[in-house]
Amino acid sequence: MNNVKFLTGGQLPFCKGCGHVAVAQNTEKALQKLDFNPLDVVLVTDIGCHGIVDKNFLTHNVHGLHGRSSALAAGISAGLSNPNKKVIVFTGDGGATIGMQHLVGGAHLGFDMTVVVHNNMLYGMTGGQPSEFTPCGFKTPTLPEGSTKSGYDICELMLAAGAAYVERVVGIGDFSDSLARAFSTKGFSLVEVMEICTSYGVKSNPGMKLPKLVEEAGWKVKVFTEAKQRLFQTPQNSNPTSLLSEKLEVEPKYSGAISKPVSIMLSGSAGEGVQLAAEFLARAAMLSGLYATKKGSYPVTVGVGYSAAEVIISHEPILYTGSPVPDILAITSADGLGYARTAAGRMKGGTIYIDQSLDIPQTGAETVVIPFREKVGAQNSSLYSVFYMVGSQHFFPMEALRDIFMANKISQRVSVDIFMQL
């Protein structure tokens, strides 16, 4: 135990008789018992009467948003990742209500911090409205008939969430040992300090005694759990490597044979390799010394619905990566036809390669019907459409596409030969 001051010694900014005074004083005493120094401590406060006490603390102080102090403190704790630092949160029952997810998450993940909930069962700063912690029968200025529902039992909630230490105390007298036990716990600890607001709680509930109120509310004053070992470890990627790997480069090996930029759309179904096929097409173009872009279009659903991709290949750098009217369109499924019908309708020339199972959309393009799905199966139909169009359109040698295919692990389970046979 030391005698180091954690409080400035000035008058605390609370109403006469307010339990917040006892919390501040017991916090100082608990920290002294544990032999902390002020700058070992980061006090994170919240919005509410309790929060303005930070000006009286000689610790590091961070005064944040209503209900978010537990999340802010979790970030500080994880960012510090220092067992010699003590991160303490002061919040109220209102803040605990707003930030319940942060409390549950903090307990669940085991951030090294202590939350002290100042539960005076109402919103003291805004006129005495009931909070989610207001017990049944408790009256407030805006609820003079009394609450008809029970209040949250934050201790039981934290117990369920996996907190390392949880205790409820009645905020009268010396409860510094309770706070000290929480402060010395590694991992997430929470102490709920029961109080009664002298301005609104006492006046609205004359004669009511705090211990009796707590008992009648069914809130047990006890240690709910202690000494659990669940401590958040801040992840450290000790060897992050550059994302600019040379493996991403494509060294030209062949020559492209296009006379102007070509815009190609592949339209099929999710899960049928459309995006991969488009990427192969673009990479093969680059292998042939061309510039290429590949833009994907798909709904938010994963694994169902359409999947489309737009590829542009060009001898010159490509500025605009959109292609509202493709030169070449490959449609390999009914989903794909649904998506590509508008683009097909805009085409006044060019070629549409379409699976034989589909109806021919209205278009000014030449249409070529191919049994993509029948020949290679639905899963490879888009890839086949790319091989087919390269073989027909001669943008660049088929070998370029073959090389790209063979460099991908898909070549281990699908023979390239089925695509090379037109």
Partner: protein, 374 residues
Amino acid sequence: MHPGKTSLAFIDGSRLITESLVRAGADTFIGYPITPANLLYLYATKRYPTMLAAPDEITTLQWMSGFAIAGHVPVTATSFPGYALMLESINMAAMFELPMVIVLVQRLGPATGTATCGAQGDLSLVHGTLSGGYTLPTFSPSNLNDCWDISAKALHTAIRLRTPVVLLTSKEMVMTLQAFDWSHLAEIETLKVKTFSGSDTYIPYKVDESLVPDFMPVSQNNHAVRLTASTHDTKGFLQNSTPEAIENTKRLEAKVTKHLQEYLLFDLDEQAGAQHLVVSYGISAQASREAVRQLRARGEKVSLLVAKTLLPVSRDYVDIANRYERVVVVEENLTGQLRQLLFGAAGRNGLSGVNAIARMISPSEIVDEVMRKF
């Protein structure tokens, strides 16, 4: 063959943004996954020294603030729904004066809109993020090269000015794969936050002529740190509205505008004799560049201004625009958000916009608008 270059990389903007931010000094990524910012999250798992998955976007911004208070420089990536949740916490981080970068990948709104459809609909939102008319420095990359340069500038600005910074981009910029010559990418300087080195008492919000206070992390034990999201004096004590506290709050805007010329980035491609100016940013800038190329190929005279530093709104942009009889502002939103920021509700003679939602604006639309008799 590509002139003078044998190999091109096939990459997306997310990769360049991530690598640039880390090289510039970011050491932590905290995020909640959202389309179309997914790739930034994915790359973060591989590239940042620390990467944390947060349970929601409010927590994201709070954890980021906590990490920044502990001395780190965090980054997140999100889209409108996530940014909307972050709003109050971004205000907090601005009041704490914490360096961080928020990559906002725009998608089609309102509300959840269409997650997989790009947009440029959030400039007005970002402009109004901070209550009271204060500004978050905001950048927007216009091509892959900018994803490299502008991201680093965004991170450096966050560190130098101790403020949250927004990197405003959109789906196609961060997801579309492009053949890209990266051999010319500039070296990126790694910056650290300037910390207090005096021997006297540390006053958290005391400033010199730079208007940027020295930082101290709570990891050290020499000086008490006091950070307050509410109106506060230079010592960090909560105040109602004392003159000192109000001056301190006004300084948040003053520090951002005072240094604007240090981070004002734009491309100005002027053609002698041109009376038409195309103005654009972000994903629509490439369509604008292509449109200008086509117009010039037809013998038309036209100039192009691509804004990369969007906020604070630079008077330079208005001055440049006012040299032209016709100004066409190109952006992928309904009402022309940059146009309104530059010229207000009154507009000016010869001003028009090319706007679209749910699709990219094409060069031909821009060409048509420039050629339209006005």
